[in-house]
Amino acid sequence: MTISKLLVANRGEIAARVLRTANAHGLATAVLRHASEQEGPAHLIAHEVVTIDGPTPVAAYLDIPQIVEAAKRIGADAVHPGYGFLSENAGFVAALEKAGVTFVGPTSEVIDLMGDKVRARAFVEERGFPVAPSAIEDDDPASFVERARAVGYPLLIKPSAGGGGKGMRVVREDSTLETEIETARREGERYFGDGRLFVERYIERPRHIEVQVMGDGQGNVVHFWERECSIQRRFQKIIEETPSPALTPEQRDKICETAAGIARAVKYRGAGTVEFIYAQDGAFYFLEMNTRLQVEHPVTEMVTGFDLVAEQLRVAAGDGLSAVQADIPQNGNSIELRICAEDATADFRPAIGDILLLDEPQGEGVRVDSGILDGGKVTTDFDPMLSKLIVHGRDRAQAIARARQAVQNYVVLGVTTNTGYLDAILAHPDFASGDISTGFLTEQSETLTAPGEDVSDLLMAAAALSDERLVSEVMQIPEMHRKMGGWRN
């Protein structure tokens, strides 16, 4: 089966990024656009723009019948889902299959399996891959203390009915386990009227490390090395890099092989990512598998030299993998910064506004996957991520230096973005030394959002002098009277 026309069922930077590769490979391309949506780069790159409709723009992008119908109408023989929206929707895959349109991604069965956290965990654990130890009291209340002890220390006791951190207790020594269980049970009863408990291994200052895999659906799987994504705010990544500064070569091989093994176990097809929680002692546990192209895939492309979208299309067309494991290098370091319309000093509140001026950085080792255009408008209709800034350096220090230089020259005026905040993270000594965890942004929030040098005098001067109405009012005063100033006789 060959693909001749590709519909990208997505928007923003990822649609533009997928379309670029598809165009370069000679495919006819089309992209979706909601009637109320601002024009973006994707609409300029695609050969065809298909207007979709819906009560809200997001609803339109989730409207399976409408999108399948659109794909058929325009004669697309394949659909690339990007990330988000319908990218991990088994129903969408099934509907496309039924319509005879190729889905660029895994099978609906794999999506289903990996989409169910409990089933996925059981599947992985059964096959001998590491999952974080845990014990559920309800499984067998009589043996709960014993099973809890087997989880290992430190461990975390949580009320089964809990939430919001209430009744959670960290236990570091076996001698206190039973009294802590009793305390937690009392708290659970007091807060939730339910004393049942749940125990899991407590991982202090964990890191988030994930591995890019690619399978041909026949059981052949290669990995494209790891990415470290520990820099997260509100459980969402904003800086990703590869290689992870935490891993030794041995650990790297181990974690990457583990990921490839999991993918092989499901005869994975296409691009996927296996996410792990990585403890400071080097232990790592399966978290979940994302059955799609990740936002942060470009850092992998920068160090391996592979175009992952091209690989996806190749697999979807049935042409198999283009490389064997030994052919996939990991050259230098790459960092990705997610440029988001949000106010880092106000709890990352999404920002809206008109883009009055846009000037994205360029230069050696700098790549920008952008979803915005100069003069556009940022609304709350979609995710606040506007674009991604990706840099490559021969080593981590050079990559950080380039990232700082580039983010400082990333000019988006008219809507608040996190560029200054990203730069503050890059400038932090703990980031430079690689001493980070998923709690880094919370721990360092005050340092990272500390006000910089007071330049308000310069800013007010700039604002005043560029205020044409103000300047013209001042210049309306006759010259003599201006020169006399506030003279009084």
Partner: protein, 535 residues
């Protein structure tokens, strides 16, 4: 134009002595001005605060463009009247800048006797409205007045240039298409009600502003009706029921913001064009004027040294430098505006009078405003001069001066005696502005001559009655006369009586003239025409 080469030695003893004497005078002058502007009894300040009103100076600050000059007139008006209890005659007037436009401002000072109109208040307001009419300046009235001061109503109300003239001038302004705004920040009662109602636009501040022909007590006395201030003439009633008020403002800030907005949307009429040059600061420091003006008024000084510290670049093109040398005539620029200057370097003779008349005609011909610097003791007297027709030549000078169509400005720099005051555009001769320096004097003649003349009359009368007077007795007659006359000719008396537009620190003369000239160009300049010259 060439720069005046100053001969002043700033290290000379007399320069230093003059400087010290003038500095002393100015210290007193500035202290008096400051007191007249800002020093009020605490109870008056408290009352304004209680009434939730801003002081008049704060109101001006809200009204005027920030960082622009305000040429205030007659700050020391009434300083020698009413035992000095009515500073500034309870009103602030002047020319300021609002939204880039020159406007004349008339603002009641409610911190003085509740802003009541005294005779000198009326004189000061009428003068301001005359300035507005002559120069076609829009007027902003800030109304906050208790009304006419009843014990002195005869000096406020009946005569041609008293109370009614304020409203008459308002009508004339409107007729001449010169806009007016009234901001009502207090009560406008009886006649006062016509200030806002004769204005093209008025703004009433809620709570404090009110307009009525008769206030609540008068209404109760007249008809028995009991009615509150707000219902009778408050902002809400007038802006929604009677239509007497145009805008209601929630606060003083809002009121002056509205006034500024109104000025901002007026049509901008182009000003009269006269010759201008690129502006240049005087080459010589204006503060040196303090050392140039002699501490003894009788000491002669060269007016060119004065001009060198006032005009642009200290440059002066002198006309007829070798003829009629007691009358210095020539062209210069002030703040870039080309002006013709007439300055006294001594008594007016036949030749100096003819020279002045000729020069003024020249300036009228080429639309050059005239600036007079007075230091004049009069026209020369004596048989020889009468035979030469000094009265006829003086008349020519008056005819040329009084018939001038270009704007005129006068600075009484030192002496202003007798008919010299007339020839040199004294108060009666419609100078657009007239300022005095603090040591200057104005009168029919100098104090000594006047005292001697008056004493001699008395002495001769006594002698006719057969009385022989000792030196002591003669002195006893002369001294009180001299003392009184000396006081009467002082600048403070002049300014108290509004014979001038204010006393100036000499170093401020340049700016005051610049503001005055600029304001005058809002009015057109007529084609030159004269009466009959006695040839």
């Amino acid at each position: 134009m060439r720069r005046i080469e100053s001969q002043i030695d700033t290290n000379a003893a007399d320069y230093k002595a003059n400087f010290a004497a003038m500095s002393e005078r100015l210290k007193e002058f500035h202290a008096r001005q400051h007191a007249a502007r800002f020093e009020r009894p605490q109870r008056d300040i408290d009352r304004l605060a209680r009434q939730n009103k801003l002081g008049v100076r704060e109101r001006l600050k809200l009204l005027l463009d920030p960082g622009t000059p305000f040429l205030e007139f007659s700050t020391l008006a009434a300083c020698r009247e009413y035992d000095g209890t009515v500073p500034g005659a309870a009103v602030v007037t002047g020319i300021g800048i609002v939204q880039g436009r020159e406007v004349a401002i008339h603002a009641n000072d409610a911190s003085v006797k509740g802003g009541a109109w005294y005779p000198h208040t009326v004189k000061k307001i009428v003068r301001l409205l005359d300035v507005a009419l002559e120069n076609r300046l829009p007027v902003i009235h800030i109304c906050d007045s208790a009304g006419g001061f009843l014990p002195l109503q005869h000096g406020v109300f009946p005569d041609r240039y008293l109370g009614g003239r304020v409203f008459r001038n308002q009508v004339k302004l409107s007729q001449a298409n010169i806009p007016q705004i009234a901001v009502v920040g207090g009560h406008c009662t009886a006649g006062g009600a016509y200030v806002p109602t004769l204005s093209d636009y008025n703004i009433i501040i809620e709570g404090t502003g009110a307009i009525f022909l008769g206030g609540p007590p008068l209404v109760k006395a007249a008809t028995g009706e009991e009615v509150g201030v707000q219902e009778l003439g408050g902002a809400v009633m007038h802006t929604s029921v009677s239509g007497t008020g145009d805008y209601r403002a929630a606060t003083e800030q809002h009121a002056f913001s509205l006034a500024r907005e109104i000025v901002g949307q007026w049509k901008r009429t182009p000003k009269t064009i006269i010759e201008t040059a690129a502006y240049e600061e005087p080459y010589y420091d204006p503060k040196e004027l303090y050392g140039i003006i002699p501490k003894d008024r009788k000491t002669q000084f060269d007016m060119r040294e004065v001009l060198a510290r006032i005009v642009d670049g200290s440059r002066f093109h002198e006309y007829q430098p070798n003829y009629g040398t007691t009358m210095v005539c020539g062209f210069a620029h002030i703040w870039g505006y080309k002006v013709g200057i007439l300055a006294n370097n001594g008594v007016l003779f036949n030749d100096s009078s003819l020279k002045a008349a000729h020069f003024m005609q020249l300036c009228n011909q080429n639309r050059t405003p005239l600036v007079f610097f007075q230091n004049i003791t009069g026209y020369m007297v004596g048989r020889e001069y009468e035979e030469r027709g000094i009265a006829k030549d003086g008349a020519k000078m008056l005819m040329a001066q009084g018939g001038s169509v270009v704007p005129k400005f006068t600075v009484i720099a030192n002496a202003s005696y007798g008919a010299g005051n007339y020839g040199m555009c004294g108060r009666a001769w419609d100078a657009r502005t007239l300022f005095m320096w603090p040591q200057a004097e104005i009168g029919v003649m100098g104090a000594d001559q006047a005292a001697n003349t008056m004493a001699d009359v008395k002495i001769r009368q006594l002698q006719r009655e057969g009385k022989e007077l000792t030196e002591e007795e003669i002195a006893a007659i002369r001294e009180p006369v001299l003392e009184k006359y000396k006081r009467d000719v002082e600048a403070y008396t002049s300014t108290s009586e509004l014979w001038d537009d204010g006393i100036l620190d000499p170093a401020d003369t340049r700016n005051a003239l610049g503001m005055s000239i600029s304001a005058s160009l809002n009015a057109p300049i007529d084609d030159p025409h004269y009466g009959i010259f006695r040839l």
